[in-house]
């Protein structure tokens, strides 16, 4: 069981026969229960990769298999998005209804799930994202961040086996962001959901299992957070930034304070500095 890209590539066709190679042949496997972060500059192919993973786009060459099912098979047109839930960058691309709870119910209704089960799932998903008190509102009158939370709830209610999230917290306040990340971490542990998480916010992914760096349609590096986030030339090339804890650790190490210069989280920095006391 896993999502597998086997030399999958994707090209967009533009007017006048121009071809834009968004994803060069890529081989990759995403396991259940794993949190894979995807980072890279604007235009590096992250969002295209996300759409390949759930069958919304079909590879130009190569194949994408979801638990062994090829996304190209007509039979899997419904199966793929059911197994792999995709949360878009912009919530407005996926909001459909004029009442919050109808919107969240839309996905599970299409899966043919019995009404009482849908009710339970919608309540649970809204609670998870902290939007229960807004269940009767019109999403169009809510703020961008609130709409983003509803979009996440809509996908959670489908209870997919894998989640692909394209900057799902870009418009949320810090606590809203933390809540979503904590929810994801619980889902991985409890239900072994595999998560692919695209972001520009490095602080969100310091605890990922793997970080995948994309540059110009290619995966240029893949590794544990500490390995990736302390590789200065890689970070520069992929337009990533050094987190503030790492910046502090490096500055202190330079001034002769005995701390490792490869710290990446607030916790690590606090711990090392405490031990010097």
């Amino acid at each position: 069981m896993s999502i597998n890209l086997n030399a999958a590539s994707f090209s967009y066709l533009r007017p006048k026969g121009r071809v834009i190679k968004a994803i060069l042949p890529t081989t990759l496997s995403i396991q259940p229960g794993e949190f894979v972060a995807v980072v890279g500059a604007n235009g590096s192919g992250k969002s295209t990769l996300a759409k390949l993973l759930n069958g919304l786009l079909l590879p130009t060459n190569g194949e994408v298999l979801i638990d062994g099912h090829n996304t190209k098979d007509a039979d899997n047109k419904i199966f793929a998005p059911r197994q792999v839930g995709l949360v878009f960058q912009n919530p407005d691309n996926q909001l459909t209804a004029t009442i919050v709870e109808d919107d969240v119910a839309f996905g599970p209704e299409n899966l043919g799930i019995p009404p009482e089960e849908i009710r339970a799932r919608v309540d649970r998903a809204l609670k998870t994202v902290g939007m229960t008190e807004f269940k009767d509102k019109d999403p169009h009158n809510l703020s961008a961040g609130q709409r983003q939370k509803i979009a996440v709830a809509g996908i959670l209610a489908m209870e997919p086996k894998y989640l692909v999230m394209d900057e799902p917290t870009s418009m949320l306040d810090p606590v809203g962001r933390r809540d979503i990340l904590e929810t994801l971490s619980e889902l991985r542990q409890k239900s072994s959901i595999g998560i692919v998480y695209i972001t520009h916010i490095i602080e969100e992914i310091v605890e990922a299992d793997r970080i995948l760096v994309m540059t110009e349609g290619k995966i240029t590096a893949i590794g544990a957070p500490r390995e990736i986030l302390t590789d200065e030339s890689l970070m520069e090339m992929a337009s990533l930034y050094v987190t503030r804890p790492t910046e502090l650790a490096r500055r202190l190490a330079k001034k002769g304070v005995p701390v490792s210069k490869d710290l990446i989280t607030v916790e690590e920095v606090v711990k090392e500095l405490c031990s010097l006391k």
């Binding site: 604007n42 949320l172 306040d173 606590v175 520009h200 500095l273 006391k277």
Partner: protein, 285 residues
């Protein structure tokens, strides 16, 4: 004083069952050359306040005063007065629609009836303010640009109106690191050249880095209006309403608990670094 708002309230869908109060009794003033951050949890009314400040939403109650005159008093003068401010919406690149960058930037000045030469001069300077070369970009379709470039063009489309107050609603969302720092540096340059900035953001580290003044809003009310250091001193309250303090402030507070003498509350990595080094120096003496 450039802008003054007095006891402003705003209710969406006022009078209907779905009425939703977004702003209540907000008062504030904006002076020339200020760099103000507007922070608050998701749904707290930041974007509504930004639109009221920009003269785009008429408050249900209260007054909006630009350079001494109430902008909603005489509707005839509204569009002229409104050009004091420029609002860059969230994801402004979605509002690009012309065939070329030059035409897109010329849209508002054309509407105002400015001459072609004046428009070109302004467009050149607006694009250069966001770090793009007019000659290189003018004939390109906005839709072939990168995300960061598109956003800059959209901002240039507002700057071309020469606003004295530039209001930017989460300008860096979705941009990669280079795009983000590039854009913030351009906004800072505009500020140094005299434009007042109102910067709506969820990124407390960026707020601490750039803003001189922070306005904190929660449930439609302005609950604090002071320096970043003052606002970020109140970590517990900020956490309670959904916000955090900058990373440096957080680490500083935790280190103080174990006996480091770090004061006053650091809001940047360099302040924190200095605090840690000083504290270690003391204890070695």
């Amino acid at each position: 004083m450039l802008i003054e708002i007095e006891d402003v309230s705003y209710t969406y869908l006022a009078g209907s069952q779905a009425a939703n109060s977004a702003l209540s009794k907000a008062s504030l003033t904006i002076d020339r050359g200020e760099f103000i951050a507007l922070i608050g949890p998701t749904g707290s009314g930041k974007s509504t306040l930004a639109q009221v400040l920009a003269g785009l939403l008429r408050p249900s109650f209260g007054r909006v005063i630009y350079e001494g005159s109430d902008i909603w008093e005489e509707p005839k003068l509204l569009s002229k007065r409104r050009s004091l401010t420029g609002l860059v919406f969230q994801e402004p690149e979605k509002q690009l629609f012309e065939m070329t960058v030059a035409e897109d930037i010329a849209f508002w000045p054309k509407n105002l009836g400015l001459g072609a030469e004046e428009i070109t001069t302004r467009a050149k300077s607006a694009l250069s303010a966001v770090g793009l070369d007019y000659e290189l970009y003018k004939d390109r379709s906005p839709f072939t640009l990168s995300g960061g470039e598109m956003r800059r063009v959209a901002i240039a489309g507002i700057l071309v109106m020469n606003p004295k107050v530039l209001i930017v609603d989460e300008p860096t969302v979705g941009l990669d690191h280079r795009g983000r720092t590039g854009l913030m540096d351009k906004i800072q340059k505009l500020n140094q050249a005299g434009t007042s900035i109102v910067f709506v953001s969820h990124d407390m580290d960026t707020v601490a880095e750039y803003a001189q003044r922070v306005i904190l809003i929660n449930e439609g009310r302005i609950i604090q209006d002071s320096s970043p250091r003052e606002v970020f001193r109140n970590k517990e309250m900020l956490n309670k309403i959904g916000l955090e303090v900058p990373v440096a402030t957080e680490i500083g507070a935790r280190l103080r608990e174990v006996g480091y003498h770090i004061a006053p509350d650091p809001v940047s990595v360099s302040e924190l670094e200095a605090g840690i080094l000083a504290s270690r120096g003391e204890s070695q003496r």
